[in-house]
């Protein structure tokens, strides 16, 4: 009862190490999966009924490193990077991520620096980080042991730190993919771990030491102090903020969205105090197989995020036509988790950030087309940083929604009707009349 489909063009032969095993570039998906199943699931819900996401499993298999780390001892400068696992929650793995070389390794774990890089570059960065794993418990954050204490200090580091780790066995040569976080490289159970002195970021340290401040207040104040989101997410994940009795470790991939969601919620609250923009604004931007368009509507805050996945893209391998999916929030916000997942919150953060900078509010409609050149999910940072870049471009201004829309459509390839069918904001903007249009008696009215 399975259906075989061909994998799309892969990203270069560099990573094909297992050609003998995976001769055919094909993936098994259950027949009852329809074209939207993958998009809704994104490897998280396992809607196809398999124990592992077959798309991710296949991609990971294809991406095995040719050259493996043949050593149980690793010495190198960590960016600093740490990892908090999700499997076995609340008993989870934690550990450092260390490349086998010294120097300025910051870029390996700093997605803010990855805009404009190719997917191959990002995979190279991630492959070079060897992840040590050690069992912990989420509540260890309230009373950190030796390793967690070292990781927490590391995570506060201002620059890369020299470290040495030994493993119980040789690291595997896997690249672990997921929708939320950047890919993770090879891993092995950690035996010993040593670090040089860490020069910590005093802004983060202050919040770490404040056990009367909520995690939400801490991350917002760090954000406002200019600390990179990646660093906030890293330290948040290690349970370093919040009231002392409530501190917990948070798996990296959950922590990313928790921080995006919390920050954007607080920013939106501020944005709602500002006057609305005066005209329709359109932004467009293209980056590694992704086309983005944002339409700002001169109305009070609300937000919609719609993605269109072309056939042969990661989450629409089965489909014959582009699949669209999105989420919306009205002025009051939303109370349920967005069905598209973490990218919604990353997009909302980038949008709220822009509006706050302009000291304006608006209804924001952001559209994203994913084309087959975007071969792998590299994490939601890609959405956040792309939309930051999108909203840094100079907008075109229009006086009506249809004009704004038709400008955005010039850059996009999906037709207006398909977007409108999936967009509440677009339908409202096109169909909903304003009461102010009726203040003057029109000629076709019966007197």
């Amino acid at each position: 009862m399975s259906k075989l489909i061909s994998w799309n063009e892969w990203i270069g032969s560099k990573y094909y190490s297992n050609n003998q095993v995976y001769k055919s570039n094909q993936i098994n998906l259950l027949k009852n999966s329809n074209s939207k199943t993958c998009l809704i699931c994104r490897g998280g819900k396992l809607l196809c009924g398999k124990i592992r996401c077959p798309v991710i499993a296949k991609a990971e298999a294809l991406l095995k490193l040719k050259t493996t780390v043949d050593n149980q001892l690793i010495q190198g400068s960590t960016p600093p990077a740490v990892f908090v696992g999700r499997i076995g929650y609340p008993k989870i793995n934690i550990g450092p991520m260390i490349p086998p070389f010294f120097g300025d390794t910051e870029i390996l774990d700093t997605p803010e620096l990855w805009m404009g890089k190719k997917i191959e570059d990002i995979l190279d960065y991630r492959f070079s980080l060897i992840r040590g794993k050690s069992r912990s418990d989420i509540f260890e954050a309230q009373n950190p042991g030796k390793l967690l204490g070292e990781l927490q200090e590391l995570a506060m580091g201002k620059q890369p730190v020299d470290t040495e780790a030994t493993f119980k066995k040789k690291p595997n040569s896997v690249l672990a993919l997921n929708e939320y976080s950047p890919p993770f490289g090879p891993s092995a159970p950690l035996k010993t771990f040593k670090t040089a002195n860490v020069s910590v970021d005093s802004r983060i340290e202050k919040n770490f030491n404040d056990t009367d401040m909520t995690a939400s207040d801490s991350i917002y104040s760090l954000y406002n102090a200019g600390v990179l989101i990646t660093r906030i997410q890293r330290t948040f994940s290690l349970g370093m903020f919040g009231l002392s009795k409530r501190r917990k470790l948070v798996p990296t991939r959950w922590g990313i969205t928790a921080v995006d969601s919390t920050l954007s919620k607080r920013l939106v609250k501020e944005v709602k105090q500002f006057p609305t923009i005066d005209e329709y604004q359109v932004f467009t931007f293209t980056n590694i197989g992704n086309i983005y368009a944002a339409i700002f509507i001169p109305e009070r805050w609300s937000f919609e995020w719609i993605e269109a996945w072309y056939p042969k893209t990661f989450w629409n391998l089965l489909g014959q036509s582009p699949e669209l999916m999105g989420d919306f929030e009205p002025y009051e916000g939303r109370s349920t988790y967005a069905s598209v997942g973490g990218c919604y919150y990353s997009a909302r953060l980038a949008l709220a950030e822009k509006l706050k900078k302009d000291r304006r509010q608006a209804t924001g409609l952001i559209l994203r087309e994913i084309h087959p050149e975007y071969t792998l999910p590299v994490g939601v940072w890609n959405v956040r940083e792309s939309i930051r870049a999108l909203l840094k471009t100079k907008p075109m201004k229009f006086d009506t929604f249809p004009k704004a829309m038709s400008h955005a459509l010039k850059e996009l390839t999906i037709p207006a009707n398909d977007w409108a069918g999936n967009s509440k904001i677009m339908r409202d903007a096109l169909f909903q009349k304003k009461i102010s249009q009726y203040f003057h008696r029109s000629k076709n009215e019966i007197s």
Binding site: E299, P330, K424, K433, F439, I446, S447
Partner: protein
Amino acid sequence: MFKAVVQDAKIWKNLLTAISTLIEEADFNTSEDGLKLRSMDPSHVAMVDFEWSKEAFEEYVCDKPTNIRVNITTMLKLLRRSKSEESLEISYDEERKKVDLTLRGKILKKFTMPTLESVEEEVPTPKLSFNARVKLMSETLKEIVEDSETVSDNISFKAKEDKLFVKASSELSNVGMELSKTDGALLELDIKEDSDATFNLNYFGEMVKAGSATSEVATIEFSTNMPIRLEFEMSQQGKLMYYLAPRIEAE
């Protein structure tokens, strides 16, 4: 100076709740004859038009017309503290630019809240004539709205011959309703011309739900692809009226 006393604070609370479904801040225009509030929601899709004549108050003093702009949400938050059988006194201190809300029950409670700078130009009323007029119990209207909300974000009204047809549809499901005077669902039905129009249920639903608390009887008036007017009759000399612009899908 401005001072008004309402015998039952709950009435005022319900009215403010009804107003707050559309707007957060608004000007109360006070004059010798009474109090008015007319304001559009921030998206300019809907409008609330509220009037209370001085006779509707237990006591009413206003020596010169004044615009008092308040945050409705804040005022409502204070009024939520009211209990049944408490009277409410609203007064405005021009010098301090504060509104005092005094609740008199077993305990005398005085809340003071700030006013805001009045910025709003006077909002005109839409120039409309209506070809269909339907009077029905607020409860009936609420039921229609709630039934429609189960399937759609929009509600369509169609007045034809001696019936009101209500329709709500989404991609997969839809609901259709028929109401007539003979079946007892309507109190009055007056059709000059067949009329058909569609409205956003988020707006309309909120209006109906909040308005129903203020009156047992509601009147809707509409024409083909034109705004709807929703009025809640007050037993005293007051009116609560909403306008909502239509949704027109076929351009």
